[in-house]
Symmetry: C2
Subunit: 465 residues, 2 copies
């Protein structure tokens, strides 16, 4: 037999079980707390999203109004121009076209940001309100389901406790019955052993002298043995009965153990997961997805609209052309720029001769004059070629200066990680470069030179200014 130290006492087993169940109960409470917390966070997040979009709708509306005002300020100005035909005429000039498109773009952006604001207020925020309502309702239901599941689980654990205690009781009864039976067996053994000894002792004596005493003794002994046997039988029956009860109780305990473990497993592995699914999903993620996709759709449409406008401006900028503007201007003011009629020869008093007279005696003089002019012309031609070359080179220099591709501001949008450095980055891009001042000086010098070369007769006058 095992020593008492080798197996746990009933109290210990019960205490251990109690601890285990208490721990589970604490976990169950924490689980619902955790879901509560998740639900609160979700409600808070949805509230934040609503507040965020409400505030952003205000900002977009503000921005839209300011843009509208900006566009109107300048559009009103052109509208108030008395001479509408004049205004219309100017529109054909490429810089004016760019300006009009710029104002159109501002109006377009104003309109788009109003739309954005409207979508925030009348589409996105209501979605979050719905998600919030749905989440709250679902959470309430899920919590009820969860409590019910936990109640069921606790019922199973209580049942296990009961069957375990029953097993203990019946097993104790069985052990007690067994020990009583064993006691009876010992007594019987002892009684049988006594009879055998006495019979052995009596063997040297004469059988007759003590036969009467022997008979009496025998009778007493025999009834005692019978009594013991009867008791043993009784105890055997009791033990068998208790043993069966204990086995049944153990079986019940083992079956309940399996069932409990299965229930615990089902709760922790399936029910909890389903519970979180019900809390977390059933539309929460999908609805949030749709709300945010609405936001993305609005933003991307705004972007596309803005981009279309910028494309139109880019196209107009590409069509900034001095030559066609000159043509348009001259067509617009045709009466001012059209050349006058040729001066015709007016014969005096019916002078019939309207051709150059190149006969003697003026011939030789004309020939001489012609020769002089031709010689002067060839000198001028050479000079002119020189001037032309210089002018073209100078003009090219100016063109190079004014068409330098210095308009890419991508760098300004490449922020370093620190937000602080934004301002300094930007201000460096255009104005603070020392090369700009140098370039400007160079441009003006070249321009001056160009004018001097082109209009030498103005040289004196220009230099005076």
């Amino acid at each position: 037999m095992t020593s008492p130290a080798k197996f746990k006492k009933d109290k210990e087993i019960i205490a251990e079980y109690d601890t285990q169940v208490k721990e589970i109960r604490a976990q169950l409470v924490e689980q619902l707390k955790c879901l509560d917390q998740q639900c609160e966070l979700r409600v808070q997040l949805l509230q934040d999203l609503q507040d965020f979009f409400r505030k952003k709708a205000e900002i977009e509306m503000d921005y839209s109004r300011n843009l509208e005002k900006l566009a109107e300020r300048f559009l009103a100005k052109t509208r108030s121009t008395k001479d509408q035909q004049f205004k219309k005429d100017q529109n054909v000039l490429s810089p004016v076209n760019c300006w009009n498109l710029l104002l159109n773009q501002v109006k377009r952006e104003s309109r788009d940001h109003t739309t954005l604001s409207d979508i925030y207020l009348n589409n996105i925020i209501p979605r979050f309100v719905q998600v919030s309502e749905d989440s709250g309702r679902l959470f309430k239901k899920s919590k009820e389901v969860g409590l019910q599941l936990q109640e069921d689980l606790m019922k199973v654990l209580n049942e296990l406790y009961t069957v375990m205690k029953t097993y203990h009781m019946y097993n104790a009864d069985s052990i007690s019955a067994q020990s009583k039976l064993k006691e009876a067996e010992k007594q019987e053994e002892k009684q049988i052993g006594k009879s055998v000894k006495q019979e052995d002792k009596q063997t040297p004596r004469s059988p007759d002298s003590t036969s009467n005493v022997k008979f009496e003794e025998k009778h007493v002994r025999r009834s005692s043995v019978k009594k013991i046997e009867k008791m043993k039988e009784k105890r055997q029956a009791k033990y068998t009965e208790n043993r069966l009860k204990a086995i049944k109780a153990r079986n019940e305990y083992l079956l309940a153990l399996e069932a409990t473990n299965a229930s615990v497993f089902k709760y922790y592995i399936h029910d909890l997961s389903d519970l979180i699914d019900q809390c977390c999903d059933l539309g929460y993620h999908a609805s949030l997805n749709r709300a945010l996709r609405t936001f993305l759709s609005a933003e991307l449409n705004l972007e596309q609209s803005k981009h279309e406008g910028l494309d139109a401006i880019e196209n107009a900028v590409e069509n900034l052309d001095a030559n066609s503007d000159k043509q348009r201007l001259m067509e617009m003011y045709n009466n001012v720029f059209c050349p006058p009629m040729k001066f015709e020869f007016q014969p005096h008093m019916g002078d019939m001769e309207s051709q150059l007279c190149a006969q003697q005696p003026v011939q030789s003089e004309l020939v001489q004059r012609c020769q002089q002019l031709q010689s002067r012309l060839s000198t001028l031609k050479i000079e002119n070629e020189e001037v032309k070359k210089t002018m073209e080179a100078t003009l090219q220099t100016i063109q190079d200066i004014v068409t330098i591709e210095d308009f890419d501001v991508s760098d300004c949008f490449q922020y370093s990680n620190s937000m602080e450095s934004v301002k300094s980055t930007v201000s460096e891009t255009f104005m603070s470069k020392p090369s700009i001042a140098k370039r400007r000086a160079n441009q003006q010098e070249t321009e001056q030179f160009y004018f001097t070369v082109r209009n030498p007769e103005c040289q004196g006058k220009l230099q005076k200014n």
Copy 2:
């Protein structure tokens, strides 16, 4: 000879020429006025552009500040959360990730609009200032050149006037000399005719009786003829001289006419064009182009930056996933969700048997119980299959409702031509559709059904609520 009506009088010719020159002079004045006006319009346009971008820079800065405030309001809230670890934990959940990216996007847009504002103020506006300066300077120079060219042209016209008048004068002299010469010739003819008559008359007389008288008469007549001849010679010489002068004057006039027409042509066709070139171009269009391209570059960079942010949000929205959130939640609260230890068989008082005892006499009872359980199990299995099918179908219905693709708001950005209709278009998109209310009712009904099917034990309880 032609009649006086057939050729213009000197006065008429001069008057016509005066009119023609006056018209040209008026055109020249108009031309400079027109350039003045163009210059003024340009200065005005450049001033408008500066004002426009200055005001827009303010608007962008305002917008940026509002966005910054918006982001900070919510970021400060998360920062103030005491439990930083808790906050960090929540970030792994996909809706929280979306929310963080949304706030990041607002911060990014705020930064970008500050940059935009800065580029307007420190790059684009200075460019317009420069263009304005350059234009002003160039216009001043061009105007001087223009005035000089016009002065030169007027000089040529005045010269033509002079040579024309000279031609008239010499031609008049020549005509007068010619008529005087013709008069002398007539007198000479008359004188010669008289002599011949007298000689014819004297023929019947004796040649001697009147010879003395005849001699005297002859002498007088001869001297008269000589006188006339001398006068004629003188007049002939005068006429020849005047005729030559007139021819030369006419030649000068014809040459001046050619030169004047060439000058007028040159001025109207080349000089005016060059003048407008100098006013209109020499960098105006090119510099305007660069300024506007800077604007476009800034806007496109802003757009790109915004788009990158939206891509990140879109990615996060795609990753909105209930299942992985559940996993993360369970990992985060591992101690709350981890299943407890299995309940082990606790042998009572060293009970050696820890297995189900299935021998007689409990065997038959166990077998009977097992059979009952198996029959119950197969009933449950069938029921369960039914429930599962219903649940899956219900869940699918809910999924269909919550994943309907109703987030495209492109329509809102397709404005009709009238700006007024914007608001009504937008408000129709989401909330005012009657189908939404119907869909919501349907969703809640299905959800209720799902809960009832899933957790029939809760049915009674749930229906009470």
